[in-house]
Amino acid sequence: MYFRETGQFKSKYKEELAAFPIFEDKIGIAIAALLAFVLIPIFGLPGLSWDFTMSAVMIPVVIFTITTLGLNILLGFAGQISLGTAAFMGVGAYSCYKIMTIFPDLNALICVVLSGIVTAFVGTIFGLPSLRIKGFYLMVATLAAQFFLEWAFIRIPWLYNYNISGAIEVPYKEMFGIVLTGAKSEPLTRYFVCLGFLVVLTWLASNVIRGRIGRSWMMIRDMDIAAELIGVRPLTAKLSAFAFSSFYIGISGALMVFFWLGAAEVESFDINHSFTYLFMVIIGGLGSITGCYFGAILVWVVPVILKEYGKSVFGIDAFVMENFTTILLGVVMVVILIVEPHGLARIWQIAKQKLRLWPFPY
């Protein structure tokens, strides 16, 4: 007894192609938006302090959803595997920092977008091998990007303005009298900036994927030779996928440092983080935008909340909880791969389908 589409007639193609053609879907989205924009910022999550909710749960999960969107575009829609995600986030962060120091008067939000564009360029360069190779071979090529960029973040002092600590520190920025970044900024402001980026980027992604470019990515993913034969240029399709995905990842990297961490060293961009993002995509569901949300929430929020409850309610040692959540993540991943390789998004779809017919499935 969920809902049925019965009785909702469409008289125009435009209505049929709308993002949420069904009335109940609109209600669902409205509830989710209400939660994200109003209820959680006011009340926080049950059982957790408001500060903790904002700074350790909500802001990162929003940022990681953007990362997951970016990686999913590359992996789920264009079928090109990448293990350099964390390093590309680093490119976003360091380029945002450089842009802010070179143009001190530029608006922080514009800096973030520009850093996304810089990352798109870098991503395109490291995406070049994808024209000749794919699969595991491409994975090794992106590993080259990961380790080379990590090295560059340490060895090229220009990137962190010859700072002795080797870390990037976030300067003070404001817009319309509201402090955006720096130590004095309110978590609420930073949260809404990230959320704004997420909404705009999700809207952009869903439209690009439905359009010509997105379709060419999916053709390349499904069978590149066949796609080439019917007129998709692999060069433009693959490189645009790398550029688009890196744009998202770069923005999320800039947001991560400037709107969440406040300062960052190269450890925030190491290979283990790349794997975490990969997990988010796979657990959420390859080739699904809703899946990005599910994946980021499951992989980030569940361990954080478990650790917090484990500490405050059951008094379990943080070290034990840390390992327990690592194991849990692996087990969840294996179970999802065995039960439904298309991830939570697919499970969600199946559940919806089942509920439509319930209680008379035949």
Binding site: I81, P129, R132, I133, G135, F136, Y137, M139, V140, A141, L143, A144, F147, F148, E150, W151, I154, R155, I156, M223, I225, A226, L229, I271, F275, L278, F279, I282, F319, V320, E322, N323, F324, T325, T326, I327, L328, L329, G330, V331, M333, V334, L337, I338, P341
Partner: protein
């Protein structure tokens, strides 16, 4: 101009000017090359036998080394702890086959790969929980491997050979020869190759897929143990060893994913190449280039010879 002499003239002048240093670097590169080759060998074995790209191999190396040390610390004699670790790996192979691989028969290679990534998370969590996260030192002395070094005078200087490195190279060669014989001469080895070729055809002639997979994961565990002992002896045993494990990926690219000799040759090329590059060309770029140089060699190979030196040619049919 300065840069050009730095690239093309100075390094070679240094090589000729200080030949003992050159040979020392060559030997160091050779030793780390054999060890890279060993890790790559673990990957190749499982890839050949089950078509699974086993991402958990580096973490198996860490697990083997940590388990060996903690058995020893519990008071078990060194060689008996080796046996205990082997038993543990057999149990692990059986569990992996039973709980993960059996359920994923006939799925896409990508999904199998992801499941090994997930497996490595499970092992990391469990190993940290049980053995703790602190680095500890390897018990190679107690296992009877020689310590110390011999100096071989040469060109007015001398080249130092660590006895441990020599024994590592010898053990590696022995292991490779044994594995080669095992694969080509025994019934199980032939079964392994049959499974690698075609699962269904292998099943139809009566080879038990499940048994073969347990065996191959166990063999990979043995390779991991050997690698773990020698890598652990060169540096401390900690989870950082896992990063070294990733170096096996460029080795695989160079050698080919399905070739045992390829793993060794690729390992040597990477080991020697990166040592040379670090010593002679590294200062130009600021040191620490060892971290990524291997991947760039691999990139070069990918562009010109994607199947590697010894790999099967990839033919794609529409």
């Amino acid at each position: 101009m300065d840069l050009l002499t730095g690239i093309f003239i100075t390094p070679f002048a240094e090589m000729i000017g200080l030949p003992d240093l050159f040979f020392q670097a060559l030997w160091d590169g050779f030793v780390s090359g054999t060890l890279y080759g060993l890790i790559a060998l673990g990957f190749v074995l499982i890839f050949k036998a089950s078509g699974v790209f086993n991402f958990a191999q580096p973490i198996l190396v860490v697990l083997a080394a940590l388990a060996l040390i903690s058995f020893y610390k519990m008071g078990v004699p060194a060689w008996i702890s080796v046996v205990l670790v082997l038993i543990m790996f057999y149990a692990l192979a059986w569990l992996i086959e039973r709980l993960i691989l059996r359920k994923l028969v006939n799925t896409d290679g990508n999904i199998l790969f992801m499941s090994t990534v997930a497996l490595s998370f499970i092992i990391i969590g469990a190993a940290q929980w049980i053995f703790g996260g602190r680095p500890s030192s390897m018990i190679h002395k107690e296992l009877g491997f020689p310590v110390g070094s011999v100096e071989w005078p040469m060109f007015g200087g001398g080249v130092y050979f660590e006895l441990l490195d020599i024994s590592a190279a010898v053990v590696a060669v022995l292991l490779i020869v044994c594995l080669g014989l095992f694969f080509s001469r025994t019934k199980i080895g032939r079964g392994l190759r049959a499974v690698a070729d075609d699962h269904q055809a292998a099943l139809s002639v009566g080879i038990s897929l499940n048994q073969i997979w347990v065996i191959v994961w166990f063999v990979a565990g043995v390779v991991a143990l050997v690698t773990g002992i020698f890598w652990g002896a060169r540096s401390d045993v900690s989870f950082a060893l896992q990063i070294i494990g990733f170096k096996a990926l460029p080795v695989l690219i160079i050698g080919g994913f399905t070739s045992v000799p390829g793993a060794i040759v690729g390992g040597l090329m990477i080991g020697i190449g990166e040592k040379m590059f670090e010593i002679y060309w590294g200062p130009l770029l600021g040191s620490g280039v060892e971290g990524w140089f291997a991947y760039f060699i691999a990139l070069g190979f990918l562009l010109f010879k994607p199947q590697g030196l010894f790999g099967d040619k990839i033919i794609e049919r529409v």
